[in-house]
Amino acid sequence: MLFNSFQYWIFFLIVVVLFYSTPFRIGKIILLCASYIFYMWWDPRFIALIITSTVVDYFLGIWLEIASGRRKKLLLGISLIVNLGILGFFKYYDFFAGSLATLLHIPESSFVLQIILPLGVSFYTFASLSYTIDVYWGKMKAVRNFIDYALFISFFPHLINGPIIRAGQFLPQIQSWRRPTAIMVQSGIILVLSGLVKKMIFADRFAVVSDMYFNHPGAHPGWVAAWTGCIAFAMQVFFDFSGYTDIARGCARLLGFEFPLNFARPLLSRNPREFWQKWHMTLSSWVRDYVFIPLGGSRKGSFVLYRNLMIAMVLVGFWHGASWTFILFGVYQGMLLIGYRLFEQATAGTIISRIMKKRYFVPISVTLLFMSFVIGMPFIRGQNLQVTGYVLSGLFGFQHVTGEFLLTAGTLALFFISLVLAVAQERTRFIDRLALQPARIQIPAYVCVFLALELFPATGPVPFIYFQF
């Protein structure tokens, strides 16, 4: 049941009607059942994993709150083993087994189990872990109501594709739920529509070009083909995931819940640090709070800082997928962050630093950051190291041919439209403010969006990219 399918909206409408026609204590149960149905729509078998994770962490949370000393550590250890065990087995077992088989020069089939990756496992595992760790640290009290906890883990708008919700953000909303105000409903609708436009018009159109390139990169040699193919994929990834998040946030808001922001126009960032503050914010803040800071953060000198940055970014890369290319993506992003810090230190107080802070230099910074982001795309989209290497050699001109320009007139138009909209949103937040506008502005805006969704979507519902993560 994809967010961009008719099926989902029928489902959502039924859920909304049932939810609002009952008191909230029953409504919670309806939401929980709906979430399980939503998940089982893909593969009913894997509901057992969510329920296992939920039951284990629910009880561990309560015991963690009353335990102390070694017993407390043991309980946290159990939670980590169960959650990371599920994630590790289903997502990473085949990768490690395959790598070991390659290392030992034995056939992969002797180790690899061809395990199906349960949808959303990376998202709900991190959500669940954040709860037990927060209870362990004493940052929050253990939740006593099982339905509340189960709903936090499995609430369908975030279940499959995030954003990664923290217990501290969501559980208080369940405990003191109030009917959404008119402005919440209005902005929820706007978020849903904005997400659908991002996904169905922008992401799916760029997908046509990026698929054409990445499915057969050998058929499109040359640096122009490589850059245009990678730019198309970069735009696709952004619009796909940010579109999903918008729909998820919009649906949650329509049900009276607030999800955190996950993207804040990251492609207008000026440096890698700012980029990771704006891109997949719930993941980067999770890694910051539960990995980077516990490892010492930036408090123990430069070497530890750089080591921690690299560990955090490799983890971010590996979280995206069980493959060497994702690990390399993390290493690449870590190198960018470390490199930028070193550059900043080296140029501090110099004329270069002053120029870089000037407004006229902003477009150059943004372009450089965007190019560095595009260079990272072969790590995510390349099916294996060979493909990634081939595309990278194309990007850096090692194929000694120019190649064809893959972006179509339509995708170029979308590129510029998205740039103008992003700039306008950055400066005026016109999309967010639309909720407050009078009917004479809102109604034409609705008509434009409906027309765009009617006339310009790519064919058929295309799955969201982040499903594979």
Binding site: F6, T181, A182, I183, M184, V185, Q186, S187, I189, L261, A264, L268, S269, R270, E274, Q277, K278, K357, K358, R359, Y360, V362, P363, V366, T367, A409, G410, F416, L419, V420, A422, V423, E426, R427, R429, D432, R433, A435, L436, P438, A439, Q442, I443, P444, A445, Y446, V447, F450, L451, E454, L455, F456, P457, T459, G460
Partner: protein, 418 residues
Amino acid sequence: MSLAICLCVVGVIAIVYIALYFSSTGTPPTESPADPVVSARPLHVGRNLLLGAVAFVALDGIIFHTPLYPSILAPDSYAGRLAVITQAEKKRASSGRKEILVLGDSRIAEGFSTAVADEVGSASGLKFVSLAEPASTIVIWHYILREVDPTTQRYSAIVVPYGIGYEPDTAGDLRISMAAPLLRYGDCFRFASAFQPWSDRFRAFTACILRGSAYQSDILNLLQHPIGRLGGIQLEAARLRSRAAYEGRDSDIAGTSYDPKTHKVSFPPNLTEAQKQLISQSLNPRPESEREHFVKLQRGWIQRIFDRYSKSSTAIVLTPVPRSPFGGLAGSSVTGDPAFPNALTKRAAFSLPEQTFNFLEKPEYYFDGYHLNAKGRRRFTERLVAELVGRLQSGDAQSRLTSVHNYLPTSGGQERYH
């Protein structure tokens, strides 16, 4: 040329630079400002959304349900061609003779010639009109008839082919966009029921209400080549003339042979790879479910055509078409229980025997695996017209009814036609 490209690149860089310059006030934002939470005046969320939806449906209606957009459809697209020929036929003045309308897909478009038909049938006072269009189906023919013959009195006879044609994978989308210019709001359920997968049914249903959704690729094409589109539309009259003058393709696939036991095809050396591929493709057996759907579709929609003409003097003539260069292959012919509705026996309608055109099922009459060439076209037309003239003039409706009553295709493909 290179100067133009350079100027374009410089222009693009300038636009990007200016846009990014304006994206920033100079200091990087540290956090995203919160969404608005209060409003100074009451918000009419439901009302605005509803009005927006109503305005959208109305706008779609104005643009796409009126001739406004259909008049600028790409004339070389399936939908555009169908819209053009339907409008031209609607506006055509009566010839004063008994007019016979021939419907059909690409097999009839390639296989039937109005020029030859008029030549053969003029002595009998008949005038032939062909609205056969590649990729069209019985569903589309039903809507064509509604458009060109609103009174159901315009034609003396309407020739409707039966049998199974070529079905590309994209058939659903193609047929929805083709039928779009002919659809009305009230057709939603009936039109949607003509499609097999639920996704296609949903798209077909939506296309009846929100017609613009059926023209997505046409609109993108228009935005990409607006000048070319306008130029193409101006050539419509010339296109219609060349359609009337079309004589069929000269090439043939003589020398090609097929062994149904081993499923091996041997080709003569003069065929191109594309021709060979198409011929091999035409020999692939059709899935049973697809075949059943096709037969069911024909049964249901032929019935609708009969119902529409139930009070009219127009004769509905069901005709087989030559099935393939190698005769009746598995899945290429309609046999079994009577494929046609009981209504055949209730009114002035008759069917030509299934074997009428078997003599044309030879490679020398085909230019690929599906379509007759110029030679086949001439012979098919002559035979069809001869059959029609003979039967239409053989007596009153009652005699025709009798002949229809005696026609019952059987499971072995052997017919009982007396």
